[in-house]
Symmetry: C2
Subunit: 430 residues, 2 copies
């Protein structure tokens, strides 16, 4: 029985919007936005899209008009009453009223600022410029839109049956991963895959699968819209963006050297408990930990987001011991390039020695490797980063030179200031 | 948007019928029925359900009331105008008007006869008694109903998400089998899986998958309803039922010995070409071929349905050569216990030496092995056979003693008459 009204309604769609909510974004963007809104409301930043997978020629795959329609749609979004109620009324990390009234008022009035879009060498040049608290909220929707438009471009050549088999295979693959994870004692794992997801609906399905398969060992999702919809925890703390912008604004080498700690001093004032998670690799983990003030060793944990993860974790454990802290009370969050084998290996190596948690990203929400001819749905490495603050370039080094961003001369200066020596280059696949 | 009318309509279902059409049956049943309708319309037979997998305690899994409702529903079915048109107007095996007008009139007036149902030792005792041309059409719907009620009994404890994952995994498994079959040159394979299917909808999906994945290497389905619906070939010739009933009716050992050939002499008169397929194993392939008249060696091919298939095929090739026939012009149809590995091995051994074709059954339409706890959806070996004709017991020996049916004393007599010596017992899993 065909529902004619539904059929006719479906005929009328102009676009199928990819991002349909301002909170279809990572929780840590909102946490950081609140911090920025208080501490640096007038800083002007530029965010820019960077496709590290140059072989994926996005501007040849994706129609520019369609991209503009999707981006324009995001600019029409504002916080709904239900979303605002959820942000104001919910408990995050056990805390009520995580978001202050002045910040909620800002968010309720927010529309995302304009974008600049060009094409060059088969890639899109997509930039956002304006006040930091506004521009920073473009990062996740911009990535999600480009990822999903790429999926759509590849999928449009498939027939209905092929699509059915494709998703059956992707479901089977994820489910078998979940079954492999089930046996790990005291597993704690969360979804960090919004930015590289195959599509919104697929991310939402993967979250459902994790809930069904892992129960409370699945600790939540970084995606606020999905957390709200599925009534689960929203997860996330802070990211490289904070030290990068603060470092760019420093007026001297001494100021630059101090910037990553100053940012965390602000955070220390604002947050406690499980929100006090160190992200040490922006300008090299080794130097960061060596020069860190003792109050940072008192923080709850550390997030390992680049370099060899086992080495990073061993270094963190050694550092805590050196500072007189008991590592067994500390939390290590692994969030870089995870898939099941690595999760199992890291769990085996560190379970019982520290509290271990995993932020599973791309290979949870976008593992379509090998499922279409030419591997056209394989995930790729797209980022959207702060590239300038008040007219000065930003720099990120990380523990993997393949992930470094910024002008070469500035990278050299930062390496000198932060005492970063030779680094091991690791392939960045996702 | 909820379609309230559809929702309310769905509320009103009394049962969800498993068999919804008289032609949701194997094509060879209709071909044999026409032959029986002409040659033995007054023979009275008894068909009986036999569960060779005694560990699957059907009467404990399936509610007797539900089983009765499903069987009663089949008794309400009659040939629809569209089905009659399709049987009358279609080309089967290249021939128009395969079904004669007198047979079509019989079929158009047919309702299936009553059944007897009891329970004993955790199993259903389900029998059908009456004129052969009517009773014989119970076999396939009875098996399909029991198989699907068993599936439903196991599935009723699963949640919506678990069901989604279950079918995604089953789809993935079948699709990967199809991908493995794609590389075989000159592959010819058909669906023979109606009787042991997981469910009607699943069989229909597997047929669609074979069409999508194999194109014209998929030669058709034995299921008439699906062949009609999907506009593909209906496949099948004849089965053990014909020699079994004729043998039971023989009045002497000499008559018994001649019965299997007399049946095929009738068939020879009625059919030609690809319908002339020998099924030699009812009372032992070796003796059957040794004693066969020369006109049988002129038939198009042979179906290997029990015993070691490679041995059976080698014996057939040798027999054709002994009778002066060129095996390269002959067709061997493998139809027993097939799965991908065996198909590939048999194809490798016989491709180029004879024409090879596969009738893929249970592990195409019902491979849910290992997909639920306790393996409750694994296929099992259920048959519905002629057990008596005009009051005399029937016997089947086959090339595998595990598949033999009939009273022990009659089995001994048949073995003597047909000169069947020691046989190798092979496990019957499906």
């Amino acid at each position: 029985m065909v529902d004619i009204a539904t059929r006719v309604y479906n005929h009328k769609w102009k676009i199928d919007p990819i991002v349909r909510s301002l909170i279809d974004t990572d929780f840590y963007k909102l946490l950081m936005c609140q911090s920025v809104h208080r501490n640096s409301p007038d800083t002007r930043v530029t965010f820019s899209l960077i496709n590290r997978s140059t072989d994926v020629r996005l501007a040849e795959l994706i129609d520019e008009g369609e991209l503009r329609e999707q981006l324009d749609h995001v600019r029409t979004l504002s916080l709904t009453r239900g979303e605002s109620t959820w942000l104001r009324g919910n408990t995050f990390y056990g805390k009520r009223q995580m978001f202050r009234p002045d910040f909620m008022e800002f968010l309720e009035g927010l529309r995302l600022p304009p974008y600049q879009l060009d094409k060059r060498d088969g890639q899109f040049e997509l930039t956002f410029e304006g006040p930091w608290p506004q521009v920073m909220l473009w990062e996740i929707p911009a990535l999600a839109i480009l990822m999903e438009l790429r999926s759509r471009a590849v999928l449009k050549d498939l027939g209905r049956f092929e699509l059915q088999v494709l998703y059956a295979r992707a479901m089977t693959r994820l489910w078998e991963k979940i079954e492999a994870l089930r046996d790990l004692p005291d597993l704690r794992i969360a979804d960090f895959g919004t930015r590289r997801r195959h599509s919104f609906l697929w991310q939402d399905w993967t979250v459902q699968a994790m809930m069904e398969g892992l129960g409370d060992r699945f600790t939540g999702t970084s995606n606020c819209a999905i957390a709200m919809r599925r009534e689960i925890e929203a997860i996330g703390t802070n990211a490289h963006e904070l030290p990068m912008v603060h470092a760019a604004l420093a007026d001297s080498d001494a100021g630059l050297r101090a910037a990553p700690y100053e940012v965390l001093a602000d955070w220390h004032e604002e947050h406690e408990g499980n929100l006090r998670i160190i992200l040490p690799d922006t300008y090299g983990t080794e130097g960061f930990l060596a020069g860190a003030p003792d109050w940072l060793a008192g923080w709850t944990g550390i997030r390992i987001d680049s370099g060899d993860p086992a080495t990073g974790a061993e270094n963190a454990i050694r550092w805590w011991r050196d500072r007189g802290e008991d590592p067994r009370g500390k939390l290590i969050i692994f969030s870089d390039g995870l898939d099941v084998d690595r999760i199992i290996a890291l769990h085996r190596q560190f379970h019982g020695r520290v509290k271990v948690s995993f932020g599973w990203g791309t290979l949870m929400t976008n593992d379509f490797r090998g499922l279409v001819p030419g591997d056209g749905l394989a995930p790729f490495s797209l980022v959207c980063k702060a590239v300038a603050a008040d007219g000065r370039p930003t720099v990120k080094l990380s523990d993997n030179p393949a992930k470094a961003t910024g002008p070469a001369s500035e990278i050299a200066r930062y390496k000198r200031v932060f005492g970063v020596g030779a680094q091991q280059a690791l392939a960045v696949s996702v």
